[in-house]
């Protein structure tokens, strides 16, 4: 494996923007002024739905697309305007883009031989060994499995020791078994080689699993940039809360109310109120909020108490070790999902009590979608 011995390869995007002009219409902002620093050796996951601007961002970094405005800096040097092949950025594409008439080895060494680089064969062999495809070097791509093709594509990208490695939906064409194995190998490989890497994906599992940090993207802007735990446990807004997590987070619209004793309540319906207790930093009395809580963070009690939220069982789905309970929140038309043990007994129509884990209860401003930072303060506060 080629040792890395080179200057610091951080990647910086500054107010990066790409607009597409359409005759007679307002310009479309595919990427709208994003700022990002990917540290040397870091793997950043660019996660978002199709059309969010993540592929355009990747293409601009690779030099396949020029930004409308803003800057891209690799190792401190602006690469905007530089031809793609001089940027030392390698891309492993979703569709592999291998040359069918060439052998695996020729595919891997293609770029190097074009540049007349030395040791191409030996380096190809080293990389192939690292990726477990050394026995395929003399084969043509046609006969390979999807997982093998993906490894060849990856080998071709990293054999050049790029400053920045771009991975475009690298696992999307693999079947479930190959995807798991390849994902783990990719993670290990990136850790060991330490390439500064940007991974573009629409698959949150992939992003959570692989990335040191995740940039969740929508409508050409970053919604949240943070670690997997950060994005999962402290989503910055409603989009992130809804997009990340499987099963998805319950998002329940309601209104904040201050009780006579100063404690705060999230009213989700006439008879459905979540007592938040005395809080710090929450929103205002009367504010329209959306309460977010993940299905794992709700406890179901067969007998409701004054402290639990009444709900009726809509459906129960046993799944492997876990079960998924869908409930109607009493007195509202809101439905929510709770993750339970797989052999729970739940009769449709039955009323149960729900207890929310307050430490894992999120509040969002319904109007802006932004997260409202709050913490329950168990001890009474002095004013």
């Amino acid at each position: 494996m080629a040792e890395r011995h080179r200057p610091v390869d951080d990647l910086v995007l500054q107010r990066l923007t790409k607009t597409f002009l359409q005759r007679g219409k307002a310009p479309v902002y595919a990427v709208n002024g994003i700022d990002l620093t990917v540290g040397d050796g870091e793997l950043l996951g660019l996660l978002g739905p199709s059309g969010c601007g993540k592929s355009t961002t990747l293409r601009m970094i690779a030099g396949l697309e020029e930004p409308t405005s803003g800057d891209i800096r690799i190792g401190g040097r602006s690469v905007v305007g530089l031809p793609a092949h001089t940027r030392n950025v390698a891309v492993a594409f979703e569709n592999y883009a291998l040359f069918p008439p060439l052998t695996v080895e020729e595919n891997i060494t293609f770029g190097m031989r074009a540049r007349g680089e030395l040791n191409a064969r030996q380096r190809a062999r080293d990389v192939a060994e690292r990726l477990g495809i050394e026995h395929l070097l003399d084969r043509k791509p046609g006969g390979l499995s999807s997982g093998q093709k993906q490894r060849v594509s990856l080998a071709r990208a990293i054999v050049r020791t790029p400053s920045v490695l771009l991975l475009d939906e690298p696992l999307s064409h693999l079947d479930a078994a190959e995807r798991d194995a390849t994902r783990r190998e990719l993670k290990r490989l990136q850790r060991e080689t330490g390439f500064t890497t940007v991974l573009v994906t629409h698959d949150q599992h992939e992003a959570l699993s692989l990335a040191d940090r995740i940039a969740v993207m929508n409508d050409g802007t970053f919604q949240h940039v943070g670690t997997a735990d950060d994005v999962y446990d402290r989503p910055a807004n409603l989009f992130v809360a809804d997009f990340v997590g499987e099963p998805r987070m319950n998002l329940l619209p309601g209104r904040l109310r201050t009780e006579a004793d100063g404690s705060l309540v999230a009213a989700l319906g006439p008879n459905a109120a979540v007592a938040l207790g005395r809080t710090t930093g929450a929103g205002l009395d009367g504010q329209e909020i959306t309460l977010g809580i993940r299905p794992q963070d709700i406890r179901v009690e067969a007998r409701g108490t004054a402290r639990t939220l009444p709900a009726t069982v809509f459906a129960f789905e046993p799944l492997q070790e876990l079960g998924r309970l869908t409930l109607n929140l009493a007195g509202t038309d809101q439905r929510l999902v709770v993750e339970t043990h797989h052999d729970m007994v739940a009769v449709p129509g039955e009323t149960v009590g729900l207890q929310f884990d307050l430490a894992r209860t999120h509040l969002f401003d319904t109007a802006t979608g932004e997260r409202l930072p709050w913490e329950s303060a168990p001890a009474p506060m002095t004013r």
Binding site: R184, R188, S209, R248, R294, E317, P318, Q320, R324
Partner: protein
């Protein structure tokens, strides 16, 4: 509803190789398998859209193999929910009731349609045109159209496969709530194991036109007949550790070829030298050494955050084993011990893939007795 030795050939291709299947009255029965397994062909044989090359189809104890489709009292929803684009949602749902066979007085028909549409959450869309609906809404209209027909058997061909993952999960719960309301004998085809687990009273696994296993979710999960069934369920997938049966003194062992793993199996009926695969479900495994459990030692290969939990892959000799843990302090390259509850170990013949009965099967009462760690 029953299939008796149903065989279907297309020229030289055998789509169904003699299927025997019984679906009890009111049962929600799921056919699970990869594409090309023969799931849809089975449905079509029941619906009467295909005539079996050999064998019989029975509904309510009556042989309907030669009966016309529209005389079978079978309703079928297809994967491609073909709606009439120029008709309203109401008229689309009402369509089956226009035929003489299912004709109802107008007010009865209206009440039925309103009720079914309400159950499916599309009551407010009845005056809309199909093009104004989302994919999920169209799916529900197609389902409603099937459900208004008086049918003895409901056939559902991948009804959720066109939906995105989030809507699919929602609609699955909808179907589940309906299934329990309806108690209609149903045959449901899918390639999604979560749908099969969530919905099926019983599940049949189909492969290459043959039944591999029929059973409850528990049976398929805990006692799969072979590695095909074992790997059909679960994310992350079951770990299959390759090894051989070895004999040591009076003990029968599972041993990996590199000798890194040696587990006592406490059984005498296994021939030494047999190539086997040890099946370990990622969520059955625990990090750390637990008393009475089978243990494996290895080095952490990668740690992947998975929402609230971590997926940890451990290198054990030349093989890898994945497990899911809430533990947050697992570090790559660290040495760890994995504990496996002995009654959860599955042993398969590596050549045939067939399960060699659960490891603890022959030690009733104390399933842990035969298992000792030789890590």
């Amino acid at each position: 509803m029953a299939l008796r030795g149903v065989r279907k050939e297309y020229g030289k291709t055998v789509a169904l190789a003699g299927l025997d299947l019984e679906v009890a009255d009111g049962e929600f029965f799921v056919l699970l398998g990869p594409s090309g397994a023969g799931k849809t062909t089975t449905l079509k044989c029941v619906a009467g859209l295909e005539t079996p090359t050999a064998g019989r189809v029975e509904i309510g104890g009556r042989d309907v193999t030669e009966v016309e489709p529209n005389a079978r009292r079978v309703a079928m929803a297809f994967e491609n929910y073909a709606l009439y684009p120029q008709e309203t949602v109401y008229d689309n749902i009402a369509f089956p009731l226009r035929s003489k066979r299912y004709a109802q007085p107008p007010d009865v028909a209206r009440a039925l349609i309103t009720q079914v549409a309400g159950t499916l959450g599309i009551g407010h869309l009845l005056e809309r045109m199909p093009r104004e609906l989302s994919g999920g809404q169209r799916q529900r209209v197609a389902l409603a159209r099937v459900m208004v027909r008086p049918a003895d058997v409901l056939l559902l061909d991948e009804p959720l496969s066109h939906l995105d993952a989030k809507l699919r999960a929602t609609m699955r719960a909808e179907l589940k709530s309906l299934g329990e309301l309806q108690h209609t004998t149903s045959l449901y085809v899918t390639h999604d194991y979560l749908e099969a687990l969530a919905l099926g009273d019983r599940i049949a696994i189909l492969r290459d036109g043959k039944l591999v296993q029929v059973g409850s979710r528990e049976e398929l999960w805990r006692t799969p007949v072979n590695t095909f069934v074992a790997t059909a369920f679960g994310q992350p997938r079951i770990n299959l550790l390759r090894g051989v049966i070895a004999r040591e003194n009076d003990d029968t062992l599972f041993a990996t070829e590199d000798g890194v793993v040696r587990l006592s199996l406490g059984r005498r009926d296994l021939a030494p030298g047999t190539a086997v695969e040890l099946g370990l479900r990622p969520r059955d495994l625990l990090l750390g050494e637990m008393p009475g459990m089978a243990t494996l030692r290895g080095q952490v290969y990668v740690v992947e955050p998975l929402g609230r939990q971590r997926e940890v892959t451990v290198q054990i000799g030349g093989q890898r084993v994945a497990l899911v843990t809430p533990q947050e302090d697992v570090v790559p390259d660290s040495l760890v011990t994995i504990s496996a509850p002995p009654d959860r170990l599955l042993l398969f013949n590596a050549e045939t893939g067939a399960r060699m009965s659960a490891v603890g099967d022959d030690v009733p009462g104390d399933a842990t007795a035969g298992i000792a760690a030789h890590g």
